[in-house]
């Protein structure tokens, strides 16, 4: 597969030089293929980065789902399993992952770097599905007005986790594991039925009485 060769060559280059090749021409020359071959698959180097990240996400979801206990997991645990599998994948490719996160993650938290666009699309679909499942099992509260925003909220969590991972200097990224565990627990406490719902319900009751 030409496409895989290009991707691999790009990856090798980045790993060796910590920077993308100066031009598409230089890369294709090394591979001994015409430059036009590259453009059959990718528009720019950024597109390769986007694809690599989307692959991370897809692999993480698939691998996590292969775990025999996956079916017994609730939504919270499924999301956790996804994160931990993703972190495992990132650790296996840690040089590339850290390089691209440190290069592309904006200084301003909350902004999504373009390399993560495809990853984000897939992730939001995945979370949407998880949340729908969670509403069936009543793990997630049904809040018609706001629940449309949940995937974005969880995407912010992904950015937090990736940012944490990029800055984590503990052995084996142990603090990232703890951060994931705590962040996911908190987020599911928030989207689950909690005191907020009761407060809203109470407020609504008081307003209606008038």
């Amino acid at each position: 597969m030409e496409k895989d060769r290009i991707k691999q060559a790009y990856l090798d280059y980045v790993l060796r030089k910590s920077t993308p090749p100066a031009s598409v021409f230089k890369l294709t020359q090394k591979l001994g293929m015409p430059e036009s071959e590259f453009y059959r698959y990718y528009a720019t180097f950024d597109a390769i980065d986007r694809e690599i990240w989307a692959d991370f996400g897809r692999d993480a979801r698939e691998r996590a789902a292969q775990e025999p206990v996956w079916q017994t997991y609730g939504a919270r645990e499924k999301l956790l399993a996804f994160y931990f599998t993703l972190l495992e994948l990132l650790k296996q490719n840690r040089s590339y992952a850290l390089w691209s996160l440190r290069t592309y993650l904006p200084k301003m938290p909350g902004l999504t770097p373009r390399v993560l666009d495809d990853f984000r699309q897939d992730f939001e679909l995945f979370v949407d599905e998880l949340l729908r499942e969670g509403r069936h099992t009543e793990e997630v509260a049904s809040r018609p007005l706001v629940q449309g925003q949940y995937p974005r909220f969880f995407w912010a969590q992904v950015l937090f986790v990736l940012g944490f991972f990029a800055k984590d200097d503990t052995l084996n990224f142990e603090r990232t594991d703890a951060a994931v565990e705590k962040a996911v627990t908190l987020s599911f406490d928030l989207v689950g039925r909690n005191s907020l719902d009761s407060a809203l319900d109470f407020a609504r009751f008081l307003i209606r009485r008038r």
Binding site: A64, E67, P68, V69, T72, Y73, R76, E77, L80, A81, Y83, F84, L87, E88, T170, N172, E174, R175, D177, A178, V180, E181, V184, T185
Partner: protein, 454 residues
Amino acid sequence: MPEHTDMPTEPLDSTAPPAAEAHPLTSLPTTKVARAARFAKTGLKVGANYVKHYARRSVGAESSTEDLHHANAAELYGALSEMKGSVLKVAQMLAMEKNLLPTAYADQFAQAQYQTPPLSGPLVVKAFRDAFGRSPYELFDEFDPKARQAASIGQVHLARKDGRALAVKVQYPGVADSIKSDIRLVKPIALRVMGLSEAQVRPYLEEVETRLLEETNYALELRRGTEIGAKSAHVPHLEFARYYPELSASRILTMDWLGGQHLKEFLLTDPSQAVRDQLGQALWDFYAFQMHTLRQVHADPHPGNFLLRAEHGGTVGVLDFGCVKEIPADVYELFTALLTPEALADENRLAALLTEAGILRPEDAPTQRAFYLSTMQASLELVGRPFRQPTFDFGDPAYMAALYALGDDLMQQPELRQQREPRGSAHFIYLNRTYVGLYALLTELRATVQTGAV
């Protein structure tokens, strides 16, 4: 003293089942979580007033303008003070009061760790993948994703492999790191609230911190557990779990699943006196052997770490070798010398020993010296009593009453209360803790033990 009639059970009460019910994950009652919670509550009940008085005084003594600042610190350290109250009564018999501060300090950190929520299923799987590259479901024939028990810094899962039931301890990620940073963060505040200077207590706190960090080292626990278990195998009526190095890693520890009940539930089955005696004897022999021969002791003789069965006339299963105190030769000499009848009879010899132990200091005023000497003499007479008799009945209510009376007595002593710094060798912290725990177990068992034999 009617208010103290319930005292003998206090330290053991900390494993009370009701507290465990509040904690949905841990159906077994002797979780450290439940214990810690109960422990704090007990302390609150027993020692709050006493301790509050102290905290306020040490705070007020420094400066009144900084009251708010101090009050905040005191608030933060309220729990610590409460703990201090609860262990105080029994432990006072063995140590000078301020020596207990480090123990309370240790418990406080331990409690902070216990309060971490249980690990989620995926994180447990992750821990296995990190360690072995395989999930626990591949590694074992069966693995229960629901934790059976919270361990000090992780949790225990039940697994099966080749037909054997196994207990698998999984440690929370980053515990060692967080202990280190907690210590850095909290130490100055703690010292300030207690009105102690860092230099005075440094050796004690160092000792405690070393033990705490050792507890996070599962490789060390595996080695020690295997070693002590193998060497103590000849002590009758004891059972040790076999450890499985090939199924263990730095954050995972696999051992045999031992049967039996914790002390509290076991006593509810109303075991006969003969069974109690045999259990008590096994415990006593185990500690005597560790102390005198191995020179390293399982320094956490908490009811949660022993499983009791009536089988074979009484069998004790020993768990958790996370906290092991190795006893240097000179400390051993000192400790045993202090418990001999000669030391008690001869005041000069006792004074010499206590000076060596750092309890008496050359610069002490004569009245101070006399006071410490008489206090220690009274304590040692009582505490060392089992060591000086061939058999000893730990169920004797008069003995317990005497111990608690002594504790009360010591607490009333203004000299002790004004004592601003801890005294004695730092090694005594865990030795004291060991014997406090052992006495508590034996009195609860109401066992008659052949104490002079070893």
